[in-house]
């Protein structure tokens, strides 16, 4: 799908603050977002810092977003366990899925996390959806419903080539 279409769908659903760390999986989407005057982007230094910033949006009545690569999921474990899931503070995580399917896909540093990414979210009981090129709106709505019902963060997993 087109990067502009992706962000338009998120903005329509009230998401207009993102903090994060870039990923090549959605390089074009990143560039479009940074150039979008309707999105406030904070280039956080780590994924946990990004989640802290995005969580503040909840207190102003909105829903904050994080963009990141799945290699940073480990950096989210502490704030998820003893902040977001404990206080029940939601956030919307856009996670680039490097190493999808395990080796020989992608570079070696992504093989192990690539194969285990969904297991991490399952273990942490963080809802997630996998974005496909033709299912943007229903996928977003399912994820947002899960996020709002449980008042916890939820993750949208984005493989290479899905957003162009």
């Amino acid at each position: 799908m087109d990067a502009k279409e992706f962000w338009a769908a998120l903005k329509e659903r009230g998401l207009n603050l993102f903090a994060g760390v870039p990923d090549s999986t959605f390089q074009e989407a990143y560039n479009v977002m940074v150039a979008d005057p309707d999105i406030r982007y904070v280039p956080a230094v780590r994924e946990d810092v990004a989640l802290g910033i995005a969580s503040a949006t909840y207190f102003t009545g909105g829903l904050g977003g994080v963009i990141m690569q799945n290699s940073g999921v480990g950096n989210l474990v502490n704030p998820l366990m003893s902040f977001n899931l404990m206080y029940k503070i939601p956030a919307f995580l856009v996670v680039g899925w490097r190493g999808y399917g395990g080796p020989p896909n992608d570079a070696p540093e992504h093989w192990i996390m690539g194969a285990k990414t969904t297991e991490f979210f399952d273990l942490m009981e963080v809802p997630y959806e996998i974005l496909e090129p033709d299912n943007l709106e229903p996928t977003l709505d399912r994820l947002l419903t899960a996020i709002k019902e449980r008042s916890v963060p939820g993750a949208l997993l984005v493989r290479a080539g899905v957003i162009t």
Binding site: R40, V42, R46, D48, A56, Y58, I89
Partner: protein, 188 residues
């Protein structure tokens, strides 16, 4: 050297009803809770190191509010990268205060490495426009008066002693109670 409890008391004397305070895990949140349990306090009882990130997010998204971040040297060291990030955003409504007792007092007083360098100097290098290290209550008072009048991003490092105070309870509100009353305070 200032007793941390007295430092928090002095900081509170500069805080108005509408202000937001994000306090770090451990004794700092417990002492804040004991001294003045106000709805605008967010006791970040877990996730060590995250208070400054949450404070930054609030300062950006609630620009009409004054946001005070109260953390220790241990939590500041854990998220040192947040200093240049905050500086790059330059929120003029963020007042960052590090209570530096050179130790992990909440876990038994194990020494941290902050005795070996100056966190105020670190913040200045990171781009904070106003930083100061204070060693006694008078210096803290004058620093607080200056920063609250200046309306610019600031960081005060308060050199605090390890002086455990007896009878400091844990925060008795549930996490969701802390969240809900803080949300009301942000939107007030």
């Amino acid at each position: 050297m200032i007793a941390r409890y007295q430092a928090i008391e002095r900081i509170l004397s500069h805080i108005r009803e509408a202000d937001l305070v994000v306090s770090t895990t451990g004794m700092i949140s417990r002492e804040l809770f004991t001294l003045d349990d106000r709805p605008g306090n967010f006791y970040m009882i877990g996730s060590m190191g995250l208070a400054s990130a949450m404070g930054l997010g609030l300062a950006i998204q609630a620009p009409h509010k004054r946001v005070f971040v109260l953390e220790g040297d241990g939590s500041a060291l854990m998220s040192l990268g947040t200093l240049p990030l905050i500086s790059s955003e330059q929120p003029s409504n963020l007042f960052h205060i590090i209570l530096d007792n050179e130790a992990y007092e909440s876990t038994g007083g194990q020494p941290s490495i902050s005795s070996q360098f100056d966190l105020a100097e670190t913040a200045r290098s990171a781009g904070y426009p106003w930083t100061r290290r204070v060693d006694d209550l008078e210096e803290l008072e004058s620093a607080l008066t200056e920063v609250t009048a200046a309306g610019q991003l600031s960081l005060i490092v308060v050199k605090a002693g390890i002086a455990p105070v007896d009878g400091i309870p844990r925060v008795s509100h549930t996490p969701e109670q802390i969240r809900d009353r803080f949300k009301s305070a942000v939107q007030a």
